[in-house]
């Protein structure tokens, strides 16, 4: 069997593509690396769309009713008024689509789609996913859903406008755009589930010989646990979306109580008897775990990057794994903390508060372990490392601000204010997106076969880091001041008027933040074609993906892999170098040491002569 395996492997190793057509290779590819790239390009495209929406929102908040500079007059009259300012209708559509796109079309595809697809087979020493065809279907559902969702803007009544949480009855009595939003989310959910099934099967079945579960890098662990959350949480969202679709499209009343007074829609067919809070329970049963879907892979990537560039084993590897499992488990049973003020039984508020507070514990474990990893390390501040370091710090802020919301009485005041907006952006931008930047740079040499430009990478990091904090930190203050989220014009309220200069400051920072992302795109795009050729293992890392050529061919590895140890043996005294790849056998290690000693002896021998 082994012989057959290696024979076939060598047959694959050389061939980039066995005369595959352009379409099979670049478009309907079943190769996990190509699918990862497809996820990446599509998600970055959506990142810019979602970012543009955010800037429109920010412009309106800082300068209510003033025309959008430069392009205001060019936009269709259904979006802007005669002067070119954002209308209230378009504003609610924008904030809805900004949230939905950033979560479902940017962060999840980048972390789970891109890194999951790229890293899993390479890091566990497999040639591809367990179900390559499903993998392809899983990708293609995503742009399809994106198109369906975006087409809402062209419909009468505009796109979805009930917030990314889509609370009924508002979403159940809405326009066609809302229906498209439901369909699109359903498709994305299905794509996620297919991906999750694929990841779990691949990780459980296809690890390289000798690789135990506790020999897997944190990235693989994190994506594995994420995939479990996806398979458990996403179907519940799918069920909720199906019911919302029925409510919206067929006038059933799962979430619609009787006798609603609605001007925009004929409610005569709706029987009533539904429960709006039911949606919130089902929605948050998925969407709270979704927060962890969006942060856990980031934590995995950051753990790998921190360990590699500190040249030190990951502190408390097993504790890190158990912390991820604990976060995932607790994450699924704390959904009710989004609903403290929703009118649900306050007794549930108490229970959900306790479970939510407990979830801070594994998060604290992770933070302290990252600190422990850096302790007495020899840190190299490359771009991935800078982004990973920023991740830890920003995640601490995001985590700590979460404690305010977890405490039910404080949540009474800050619920649905900008404090929440600040918090979620610290977690999802400061957390997930910095982890994404770290991962993109870290695996860029493996993905493209070339090095990115370190100076541009650092420039992008510093501008992003500073403008990010300037954008989102003041939002906490706005929230403490009581500014509600999702309002079109804060100057309507007297108690919010003093905050207008702060709103302007945030908007200016946000513009800088938005435009800084062009540096990233330029750097990656330019380096993809013109960068310095990358070595096989430019970071001197231990994990298996660095044993493959850069970029890996179809079939990934050109050598036989066998795993002998965990992924974090940096600076091991056993090794001659300051790293010890997982694949180096004890015999080879011995031989290396002998050669090294011989060389040392020779040098000593040679010295008196010189």
């Amino acid at each position: 069997m082994e012989a057959v395996l290696s024979q076939e492997k060598h047959a694959h190793a050389g061939g980039h593509a066995h005369g595959e057509s352009f379409i099979r290779h670049y478009i309907f590819s079943t190769d996990h690396k190509m699918i990862a790239k497809q996820f990446m390009f599509t998600a970055i495209f959506f990142l810019f769309i979602g970012g543009a929406f955010a800037l429109f929102i920010r412009w309106q908040l800082a300068y209510p009713g003033q025309p959008i500079p430069l392009i205001g007059q060019l936009l269709p009259s259904t979006w802007v008024n005669a002067q070119g300012a954002v209308t209230a209708e378009w504003y609610t559509q924008l904030l809805t689509m900004h949230g939905t796109i950033m979560i479902f079309a940017v962060i999840i595809p980048l972390l789970v789609g891109t890194f999951g697809n790229f890293a899993i087979p390479l890091m566990i020493g497999a040639d591809d996913m367990a179900f390559p065809f499903l993998n392809m279907v899983s990708f293609w559902l995503f742009p399809l859903a994106g198109v369906i969702m975006m087409s809402g803007f062209l419909m009468e009544g505009g796109s979805a406008a009930a917030g990314w949480t889509g609370y009924p009855p508002l979403s159940a009595i809405a326009s066609t755009g809302q229906t498209l939003w439901i369909v699109a989310l359903f498709l994305i959910g299905f794509s996620s589930i297919l991906g999750g099934v694929n990841y779990i099967t691949t990780i459980l079945n296809m690890r390289a010989p000798g690789m135990k579960m506790f020999d897997m890098p944190m990235t693989v662990w994190a994506v594995f646990i994420t995939a479990i959350i996806i398979t458990i949480g996403t179907p519940v969202l799918a069920a909720a979306l199906s019911m919302l679709f029925m409510d919206n499209f067929l006038s059933t009343s799962f979430f619609v109580p009787a006798h609603l007074t609605v001007a925009t829609r004929d409610m005569s067919r709706t029987a009533g008897g539904g429960q709006p809070l039911l949606w919130q329970h089902l929605f948050w049963f998925y969407s709270h775990p979704a927060v962890y879907i969006m942060i856990l892979p980031g934590m995995g990537v950051v753990s790998d990057v921190l360990s590699t560039f500190s040249r030190k084993p990951l502190y408390g590897y097993k504790a890190m794994v158990y912390a991820i499992i604990a976060i995932a488990f607790l994450g699924i049973i704390v959904w009710g903390h989004h609903m403290f003020q929703s009118g649900m039984n306050p007794l549930l508020g108490t229970t959900f508060m306790v479970s939510t507070m407990v979830i801070a514990v594994p998060s604290a474990i992770k933070t302290f372990n990252w600190l422990g990893t850096m302790w007495r390390g020899k840190m190299e501040f490359t771009t991935p490392m800078l982004n990973a370091v920023a991740f830890v710090s920003m995640f601490v802020i995001g985590g700590l601000s979460g404690i305010f919301m977890a405490s039910t009485p404080v949540d009474v005041f800050i619920h649905d204010t900008y404090f929440i907006v600040g918090h979620i952006h610290y977690v999802l931008f400061g957390g997930s997106l910095f982890a994404i930047f770290a991962g993109l740079h870290y695996w860029f040499p493996k993905m493209s076969g070339r090095m990115y430009d370190e100076r541009l990478g650092k420039l992008h990091f510093w501008i992003t880091f500073i403008s990010f904090n300037a954008t989102f930190f003041p939002m906490h203050i706005l929230g403490i001041g009581g500014m509600m989220r999702r309002i079109y014009d804060p100057t309507v309220y007297d108690f919010l008027k003093p905050f207008q200069p702060m709103n302007e400051f945030i908007t200016i920072s946000a513009i800088v933040l938005g435009f800084a992302q062009f540096i990233l795109v330029y750097n990656l795009a330019h380096s993809w074609f013109y960068g310095k050729k990358a070595k096989r293992n430019p970071w001197r890392a231990n994990t298996l993906e660095w044993q493959a050529p850069s970029p890996p061919p179809h079939g990934n590895f050109d050598t036989e892999l066998r795993v002998y140890r965990g992924p974090y043996e940096y600076s091991s005294p056993e090794s001659v170098q300051d790293y010890l790849p997982q694949t180096v056998s004890p015999e080879e290690l011995l031989a290396q040491r002998q050669r090294h000693e011989e060389r040392l002896a020779q040098q000593e021998h040679a010295q008196p002569v010189a």
């Binding site: 809070l277 329970h281 049973i333 009710g336």
Partner: protein, 93 residues
């Protein structure tokens, strides 16, 4: 098949399960025509359904014969199913 059972034995167990399922179906229909009270009827219906589901999962879906680890794939979602349903029941009351 990893079970070590002969094909005849497996085939036989399939038919036994089939007969049991039919009997249980008849039973559940028969029993629920009698009104024992709201809660009692629900309990009876659910218990019989659980028994039937157990038979299907255990024999038809090979959980009895297969790798025991597969039972996690049933156990984990059922745990969260119960969590969700219990919370929603509190909401509904």
């Amino acid at each position: 098949m990893a079970s070590g059972m002969s094909f005849q034995e497996i085939q036989k167990s399939y038919f036994k399960v089939f007969i049991a399922l039919l009997i249980l179906t008849a039973l559940t229909v028969a029993v629920t025509t009698i009104h024992f009270g709201d809660v009692a009827n629900i309990v009876i219906g659910v218990v019989i359904a659980l028994a039937k589901a157990g038979l299907v999962a255990y024999i038809f879906m090979h959980l009895k014969f297969d790798n025991k680890r597969l039972r996690y794939f049933v156990g984990i979602p059922i745990f969260f199913f119960v969590t969700l349903v219990m919370t929603l029941t509190v909401l509904g009351l």
